[in-house]
Structure formats: structure tokens, C-alpha cells
Symmetry: C3
Subunit: 137 residues, 3 copies
């Protein structure tokens, strides 16, 4: 069994950003030389997500608006008593989930035709870490 | 380390369907001859989900109604500018997550007594692929 | 490839409880002697979740209130025709997802600085099982 681990640090300009990281993940897979296995891609912070969906700008705006409706900003969350102001970003992380698992088959990301891997930042403008970990043979 | 990969194509009659795939997954596990490891079951499209919950028809209707409330049809999503009309199905995929991981112990699906694996189609009536990938020993 | 499996049974005093299980998971990792791999932590019931977020009591109250808004109690769910009264707990399980995967690097949980693993009970006061399964080398 082989293992390969890579950490990436994002520092987005905007509070919320949606970044296509599919190329980054397939680059790490190439380095690992793993042919069969699983890749885990996971936010290491609790106010960001990793998800798989479409690389379509209109949909990404829809997702952002939808998250704003289900996990709104501007609410007096109890979490804000700590001095933080990012309660909504924690709930967005929970709603979108912080990680995905990608199958590796014959040395490639075994994704469907429209599946793209995204890092979703909900509380950016500061360093935020993500892990890509691959195990297999 | 062993690996086993299986692809299944659904083509549902209805736009939304909830299909119990537990037997299909345990059939693939038997073929793999893997005794200890993980099974990943994942939609390969971005308008369907794989989830684990109860095989109870009333609950499945509750889930469908609930999804219609949190990720409604009939909204003028920006994604529809592309000609698609399935914005709600993308959001339902994100809400329900597109994949599960099932533990394999002593050659069987290590699920609790009521845990059943479901494929949830949100934009059917056309071919949609799913992957079952097992790694272990 | 090594594998290690552990089952834990919760029996919470309250209907809903949020329990930090990070220590339990790292204890099982130590027993497994696995240095590189993945840990799966998964509820084996369909009315509980496992998630990763902050160990901050205000935020946990925010999460509980938020779940009550998106997947409310007191609705006449179709599932209740079976005699059950926990329709909301099934929906909370789906919203929060029932499992996480934790990377293992150099023999430790490879989590970010604030990532803590929680078991979220939505229908307690009875025995509920969870599985911790580790595979790696």
C-alpha cells in the first residue's frame, strides 16, 4: 500500500470564493504514482468545504445565494459571543460537507463527465489549509 | 491490497426516484473477495445522490417533500441560462451528498440494522452512472 | 494493509446531544498502530450523525437551533404512520451526514487546529452504535 499527502494553503481575496481544484488533485495523483485507490480531499478548517459539482458560473452563483438563504449571515449567532463573526460560515461548512472521496482507477481520477472538485471558502482573506491524501497501490 | 470497480447505469422512468441498492453493493463485495476495507458508492453525475437511511416508504416521501422545500423546483436559477432546467437537482445533490463509504468487516457490509444504501435520482429519464469501488484485503 | 475496527454504543440522557469523540478516535488509532491511512467514523443508526467542527458551546447551540429550523420536530411526517415519532431525526441525519473520513499521517489524526470530531445524537435515550474503522499501513 502506498500513501501520498499534500497540503495546500488558500488565501482568498474575497470572503466567499469557489475554486476549481480538479487540476491540483490530478497533479497530486500523478506524483503519487498510485493506480488504484481513493483520494481524500478535505478542508482542514471548519468554515470551508470541498464538494463535487458543475464548473458553471451561473450554478456557482445559485449555490452561493442558496447557502445564504439556508445558512444566513447577519444573524446574532451564539458563536459570536466568542468575538467571532463567522457563525454562518460554520453552518455552510456543515451543509456542504468539508470533504469528498475520489476513486482512482488505472491511474486517473474516476469522475463522471461533469464532476469537478471545488474548494468553497466561506470565511477567507486569511490562510486556510486543505489536505489531499491518496492511498492505494 | 485488492481493488474492485463496478459501474452501474440507471435510467429511471420518473424524474425523481429513490432506489435501494444495498443488494447490488453486497453483490459486488462478494465478487471482490475483499474481507476488510472500504466500499465507496458514488453518483458520477451532479444531479443525483447516494445516501444511507431507512427503507420505509413514508420516510422516502418525507425526504422528497423536504428536498422540495429546501431546494425547490420552479425557481428561475441562473444555471437555467445555459438551457438546463435542473438547478434544483444540483442543489439536492449538494444537500444529500453524492457519496457514502461503507465499512467491510469479515467480508460483509458492516451496516447497522436499519441502514440501507439508496441511489436518489433528481433528474432522471436518461442514463446516469454510479460507481462502486472497493479497496481492502 | 492493516485494518482495525471498533464499535461504541452511546446511550444519551437527552434526546439530542453533541459529544466530542476526538479522544476516542485517537485512542483507537493508537491501538491500531497504523501510521498512514484513513479512519472512518460512522453512525450505524439513521437518526444520528458524525461531523467535524468546532468544540465551542455557543456554536453547538447554534447548530441545534439551525437543525430545528431546517428539519423541524412537531411535523406530521408520513414516517410517523409506522408508530415512530422521529421523522425530524432522520432528516437531521441526512442534513449533517452520518460519517466522516479522517486522514492518518505519521500515526496521528491529520486534522486542522480547530477540527474536532463529534457524534450528534438526534433520537437518544436508547442504545445507538457507532463504528470506527481504520485501514492503512
Amino acid at each position: 500500500m502506498k500513501a501520498h499527502t499534500y497540503y495546500h494553503t488558500f488565501n482568498t481575496k474575497k470572503k466567499r470564493e469557489y475554486l476549481n481544484i480538479t487540476q491540483m488533485v490530478s497533479g497530486e495523483l500523478a506524483k503519487s504514482q498510485i493506480k488504484e485507490g481513493f483520494i481524500m480531499v478535505s478542508a482542514m478548517h471548519i468554515t470551508a468545504s470541498v464538494y463535487i459539482n458543475d464548473a458553471e458560473s451561473g450554478l456557482i452563483e445559485d449555490i452561493d445565494e442558496w447557502l445564504g438563504r439556508l445558512a444566513p449571515e447577519g444573524i446574532d449567532y451564539r458563536h459570536h459571543r466568542t468575538g467571532e463573526v463567522n457563525g454562518d460560515a460554520h453552518l455552510k461548512n456543515l451543509l456542504m460537507h468539508h470533504q469528498v472521496l475520489v476513486p482512482v482507477t488505472e491511474g486517473r481520477l474516476d469522475l463522471g463527465p461533469w464532476q469537478q472538485i471545488y474548494y468553497a471558502e466561506f470565511d477567507g482573506r486569511r490562510p486556510k489549509k486543505m489536505i489531499i491524501k491518496i492511498i492505494g497501490k
